[in-house]
Symmetry: C2
Subunit: 146 residues, 2 copies
DNA sequence: GATAAAGTTTACGTAAACGTAAAGTATTTT
DNA sequence: AAAATACTTTACGTTTACGTAAACTTTATC
């Protein structure tokens, strides 16, 4: 039960901060299926959800083709065909493995960023110490040049 | 202290399952810096580590340009310039935020895959039930046609 | 009724990340 | 020495995911 039932292309584009060009491209690639009033596209809340999924997929490094494959598989499971259901389960398992790999990668990266950050802070602390010593030297003997 | 000190292009390519073309491309883009013996590339273990980081970056959805930026920034921090150090810390903070977003995305995706999988299994269970009923009907009255 | 605003199609252009082929060099093996 | 193997450079081709411009229609506004 979404707030609204239909959306114009620019409404969607604005909401998700993409260009209308991108939205049309996603339709072209078979990821969105707006109806038409005349020649104008009318997007349903299902399309809106899918757009959200497309963009999240992109952030996770999924290609449009991969996302489309998931969409299509999911649609076909609704037909209740056993073979399709099994195929969907298999695909889901694969995606899960992929996400596991990504989680490992991220955890590794975070650890390395921790040590990198620590070294930066150490180096900065060193610089600060030197600065303080210089300042100290100046305030203790400010008359020397005179 | 890695096992070996230097690597040929095909050794690296084989180890990380990429083409030599890719490795050369990464050098071309300034991500790797092999030395030369004649005109042949000789990769150090530092290059090897970087190749590993490049590939992990790709799995996390990083572009080569992004990865290169991190490499370059890190190299410059070693010069101990304060401005560079602060810039590095800032960049690290941004990357962290990016990874947080990805973790959220992955968690969301996993939840949705859970419910998708559950629905598939339900649908399959339904199919199995129907099958069993058909089988039952046949075994109980196998003589009917006679 | 003119004009602006939002929509459309068509089509060429572009950046990223390689693939692929051609043609040559250097070394090693038979 | 001939052939196979591994490396090189040069350069054009390809896919993905759009950007950008041109030319046109429909709807809303002054």
């Amino acid at each position: 039960m979404d707030i609204k039932k239909t959306y114009s292309i620019s409404e969607l584009a604005k909401e998700f901060d993409v260009t209308t060009r991108s939205v049309r491209f996603y339709e072209d690639q078979g990821l969105l299926h707006p109806t038409r009033r005349g020649q104008t596209r009318i997007f349903s809340s299902k399309d809106r959800v899918r757009l959200k999924l497309i963009l999240r997929g992109k952030r996770m490094g999924f290609s449009l083709a991969e996302t489309k494959e998931l969409f299509d598989l999911w649609d076909e499971t609704l037909s209740g065909n056993e073979k399709q259901l099994l195929l969907m389960l298999d695909t889901l398992a694969n995606k899960r493995a992929q996400l596991e790999q990504q989680k490992n990668d991220i955890a590794q990266a975070e650890m390395e960023m921790d040590t990198a950050e620590a070294r930066c802070r150490e180096a900065l602390a060193e610089l600060q110490k030197k600065k303080r010593q210089q300042t100290k030297a100046k305030t203790e003997e400010p008359v020397e040049q005179k």
